[in-house]
């Protein structure tokens, strides 16, 4: 597999909610080993896209391919197996409130691998150190700040050493300094571990800081997709309006 070969691919994917086409015949090839960022105005189907990738939703038309296999055609057992390739950071971390930070990060290890207590502990500590939160294993999620919760969520997503990590709006609700810290974390972690990152966001600055590839979704359609510099500098009116943060243009504020 070459460095740029697609690991994750959407082929003509359409998804409807009621009579609204959230994704309309979207085709995208997300290359391995790079950070792909999908941007777009709120409610344009970015979260739907991520859920389709892990099989939390099924497309109405088209195929979602992971490593060449059709996710939509899998039975539950195959789906569970496929998900082992992924790690996901949910919007507020989706940490389990009934457990401590350490137990949260250890959770996938606990369920999928048979490690000794010490091995588990050391992998948890490594993961937490990787996200800049060493020694917080005994805290509880409601004792953490928003930024810390996201970082713990990332640690949990990384602890099983997945091939692909998904990020659902990683900087939402964070102040500029914390956002920048998360951006740095994303960039360094990917370089260190050589993984494939797929990020959805509407934070324009974050996108510029972390992306290798950028895709712009608007009105269910993929408006533009390509290397980050090309997209960011493009003249495409929708892309331009979004990245220049302008209120006038093809993107209507309803």
């Amino acid at each position: 597999m070459t460095l740029d070969a697609p690991l994750v691919e959407l082929v003509g994917v359409t998804k409807r909610f009621g009579d609204q086409r959230v994704l309309d015949d979207v085709s995208m090839a997300l290359p391995a080993g790079l950070t792909t960022v999908v941007v777009g105005p709120s409610g344009t189907g970015k979260s739907t896209l991520i859920k389709l990738l892990v099989g939390l939703l099924k497309p109405d038309a088209g195929r979602v391919l992971v490593g060449g296999e059709d996710v939509g055609a899998m039975d539950r057992a195959a789906l569970m197996k496929m998900r082992r390739r992924f790690g996901m950071l949910f919007q507020d971390g989706a940490l389990f409130h009934g457990m401590s930070v350490g137990e949260n990060v250890a959770f996938p290890l606990h369920h999928h691998l048979k490690l000794s207590r010490d091995e588990e502990k050391s992998r948890v500590e490594t993961a937490l150190a990787q996200v800049g939160l060493p020694g917080l294993a005994d805290r509880r999620p409601d004792q953490l700040s928003g930024g810390q919760r996201k970082r713990v969520g990332l640690a949990r997503a990384l602890v099983m050493q997945p091939q692909i990590v998904l990020f659902d709006e990683p900087t939402s609700g964070l102040d500029p300094v914390t956002s920048a810290a998360i951006d740095d974390l994303i960039v360094t972690t990917r370089k260190q571990l050589g993984l494939t990152f797929i990020v959805i966001t509407h934070d324009v600055q974050s996108c510029a800081a972390i992306a290798d590839r950028v895709g712009m979704l608007f009105e269910g359609k993929l408006q533009l997709f390509g290397p980050a510099q090309d997209v960011l500098r493009s003249d495409h009116p929708v892309v331009r309006q979004f990245f220049d943060r302008a209120s006038n243009g093809p993107i209507r504020v309803v």
Partner: protein, 261 residues
């Protein structure tokens, strides 16, 4: 008037559809989930006991006292004092213990359970389970479901003892019945079949209300309102289901078969 009837028709159709969805949900849990992991099951059982023990006690003891109160007045009117103890015993074992223990469990645990799972839905914790390839039906829902079935009979037995104690306090402590005669009368009136029926009833009630609570929580809308609605619907559905089940079980266990005409 026609609107009202149409509304009623829609309501009934809605209820039947929900019932179907509920049955499919439980079947799904049992099929995908199978038996829950033992550690989680024990934890849920303990939590349920801890939550319900005080409410059940506080409700059932006054009820027991009430039976003695009403029963004693009635019996003294007819002059058959020796019937008080059996009356108490039978009412407690056949109806009060399984029924009210279950009702309290429905209210306390039902709302808490539905809300708990609904909140997990809002916080995307259930999605997180799925994405980490750990089946939430097996690890989150099944333990709570089974805990209901196992703990309800336990609480019913406890309720039996407490209700009889409440009755005893009134009959013996206040109305001056003989303690020994009362307790002996109670024990004599309870047959093994009655006890078995009590346990069967409460197990059925426990299954019903934990299914309803888990179902409402699991299918809740992702919002604060969704949590509230899950909680409300689970209480009402649980109460109604328990009453319906109680009627059916009474017919089957005590009368024989539901006789038409």
């Amino acid at each position: 008037m026609l609107d009202g009837l149409a509304g009623l028709g829609a309501a009934v159709r809605g209820m039947v559809a929900s019932l179907g969805a509920l049955v499919r949900f439980v079947a799904g849990v049992l099929r995908h989930g199978g038996l829950p992991p033992a550690g989680e099951l024990v934890h849920q059982c303990m939590t349920l006991v801890r939550r319900c023990i005080l409410p059940v006690t506080l409700v059932v003891v006054p009820m027991g006292a009430l039976i003695s109160l009403q029963g004693a007045a009635l019996i003294q009117q007819f002059g058959v004092e020796r019937l008080l103890a059996p009356l108490v015993a039978i009412t407690v074992v056949r109806e009060l213990a399984p029924g009210f223990a279950a009702l309290m469990v429905a209210m306390q645990a039902g709302t808490a359970l539905a809300a708990e799972i609904a909140v997990m839905r809002v916080r995307e914790e259930l999605d997180a389970y799925e994405v980490m390839a750990v089946d939430p039906l097996r690890h989150v829902v099944a333990p709570r479901l089974f805990a209901g079935v196992l703990i309800a009979p336990l609480l019913a037995v406890m309720a039996m003892g407490l209700a009889i104690m409440g009755s005893w306090l009134v009959a013996v402590g206040i109305r001056g019945f003989s303690s020994r005669a009362f307790l002996e009368g109670c024990l004599a009136a309870i047959s093994t079949w009655d006890l078995a029926a009590c346990l069967i009833k409460s197990a059925v009630f426990g299954a019903v209300l934990s299914s309803v609570a888990c179902f409402e929580g699991y299918t809740a809308h992702r919002s604060a309102e969704g949590v509230g609605r899950a909680s409300n619907r689970s209480v009402v559905s649980a109460i109604l289901s328990i009453l319906v089940a109680n009627y059916v079980l009474n017919s089957l266990l005590y009368v024989g078969v539901v006789v038409p005409g």
